[in-house]
């Protein structure tokens, strides 16, 4: 039997599989189908300081082997997160990651302070959302702004801090280094890749927001390459995501350098995807004779 426990920035999780922010809400809907306690962790829907309505619909477009979304950070705000959703999650034995976003440095600081004062295990700082007009991704695309926002948030955040990176950059390794230098305890990647679909009959974009973020199997090889690049540049743990749909994908991404894995779009095809990934990964790890699943991390032997 392989030990499936992993530890991210000192926080232990019962296995390396986490549901990705925005795909799983706060877990309530999927808990109708299986106990979410089977998961290693949950990264909650991105929380901003105040309630946000998000973008007008349609917000979803299908793509070959993937999907675009332009939800635009619709969420009930930090107060509702702390008072309504978090208490429900805390009744369950699951590692809780609060995912936070903002429009300005002040908003990032304030929301980080509020959620990290509450009973969450880790904070994931989203500086990579492609779906909001100001802030969001623009904080994550230059080393200077990454250093600024991460170091400011680091000062007020009482929990281990994960910085979630955007793939919409030329050198993700350098961005990850900037996050590490500014005090990140871990990095997670990738957020969605910006994309667009057009209805050729109406000559209108399918998404009302015109553009959205691509996720699902289509982005998987890009994500694996980026995890690998970041692994070579930083010494903090990496949470890998982007198109992971099967246990084989999870094993592959861990070999590239991920210490834990997030699963998003795969849930929409198969609500049980994360559970099947946990079971498959465990069987594979013991078949490989590993005493700990952590031995997979970074174990690829490059040519």
């Amino acid at each position: 039997m392989t030990d499936m426990k992993v530890s991210i920035a000192g926080v232990e999780m019962k296995n390396p599989i986490i549901t990705a922010s925005g795909a799983f809400g706060y877990g309530m809907e999927y808990n109708e189908m299986y106990p979410i306690e089977k998961l290693g962790g949950i990264s909650c829907k991105g929380t901003t300081l105040h309630e946000r309505q998000g973008n007008p619909g349609p917000r979803i477009a299908e793509t070959p082997a993937g999907m675009l979304n332009s939800v635009g950070l619709q969420n009930p705000g930090s107060e509702a997160f702390v008072n309504t959703y978090l208490p429900w999650l805390r009744q369950r034995d699951i590692t809780v990651i609060a995912n936070i976003a903002g429009h300005s440095l002040d908003e990032y600081r304030e929301v980080a302070r509020r959620v990290s004062d509450a009973n969450v295990d880790l904070v994931e700082l989203n500086i990579s959302c492609p779906n909001v007009k100001e802030g969001g991704m623009s904080f994550g695309t230059s080393c200077e702004s990454v250093e600024t926002v991460v170091s400011e948030v680091r000062k007020v955040c009482n929990r281990p801090l994960i910085v979630k990176l955007t793939p919409n950059v030329t050198d993700i390794g350098a961005i990850a280094q900037a996050a590490e230098a500014a005090g990140a305890d871990a990095v997670s990647l990738i957020n969605t890749i910006t994309g667009m679909r057009i209805d050729i009959r109406t000559r209108r974009p399918i998404l009302k927001n015109n553009i959205g973020g691509l996720s699902g199997p289509a982005v998987f090889p890009v994500a694996v390459r980026m995890v690998r690049e970041v692994y070579k540049k930083v010494n903090i743990p990496i949470i890998g995501m982007g198109g992971v749909s099967t246990w084989e994908d999870a094993a592959e991404m861990m070999m590239a350098g991920a210490a834990a894995i997030q699963v998003g779009a795969a849930l929409f095809r198969d609500p049980y995807a994360p559970i099947k990934i946990i079971e498959g990964l465990e069987a594979f790890a013991s078949e490989q004779g590993l005493s700990s699943v952590t031995e997979l991390t970074g174990s690829v032997q490059e040519w």
Partner: protein, 258 residues
Amino acid sequence: MRYVQEHCTLIYKEEIAKGVFSFTLKAPQIASKTQCGQFVNVLCDPFQLRRPISIGGFDAQAGILRLVFEVRGKGTEWMATLEEGQALDLLGPLGHGFPLLDSGKKAVMIGGGIGTPPLLPLCRHYGRNATVISGFRSASAVILKEDAEAFGARTIVCTDDGSTGFHGFTTQALEEELKNGTYDVVYTCGPKIMMKKVAELAKAHNIRCFVSMEERMACGVGACLGCACKTKTEDGGTAMTRVCMNGPVFEASEVDFE
């Protein structure tokens, strides 16, 4: 558990109009939980996203579910290739369906084309007290008329080209119907512009009206916020509300048709 993922064998398949298919599926778990107006999210194997399809009929005792769908794009085209004996992966029953009044009350239902299927279970409930006004392009596209009548419902078919039934829009037929008859409730499913007009007519006659909304979906269960539509709040503002979970059926007065 309010909804489940179930592998459902297709036991009867019929093309009821050109490009419109009726599937009868063995789905004991989903059928046992279904209420009028709910839907299932159908896995179309080659594609990433499930397709939302209304439950057009259900029999909890027999463990049977009926889906009626039109081939519109790649996913429904794939669904149409399925043969009897093969299985379909369904997630459901999903969403909040049509609130039901006492079956002695009089209901009028307006279906636009492929919006008609979710009205069938309502016909079963209201029986002889149901009137169904359904609209189609032409005579060859008419579906589910006999099915509604089999439950005792009165049917008024409208066609755009006048090739059968009333020559004109469903909303014109409804206007006549509301002038002459007394109804306790209005139900509608179909194109947004049609439902908007239906809602206005119902309001003018002071009758409660329930509309079934459509939006592109991902999870189908309320987790991803992909399917939000604009609704009105009690304080006069607007909110973005999940069609898959808070809907697909809404009280017409709650919906912001824009």
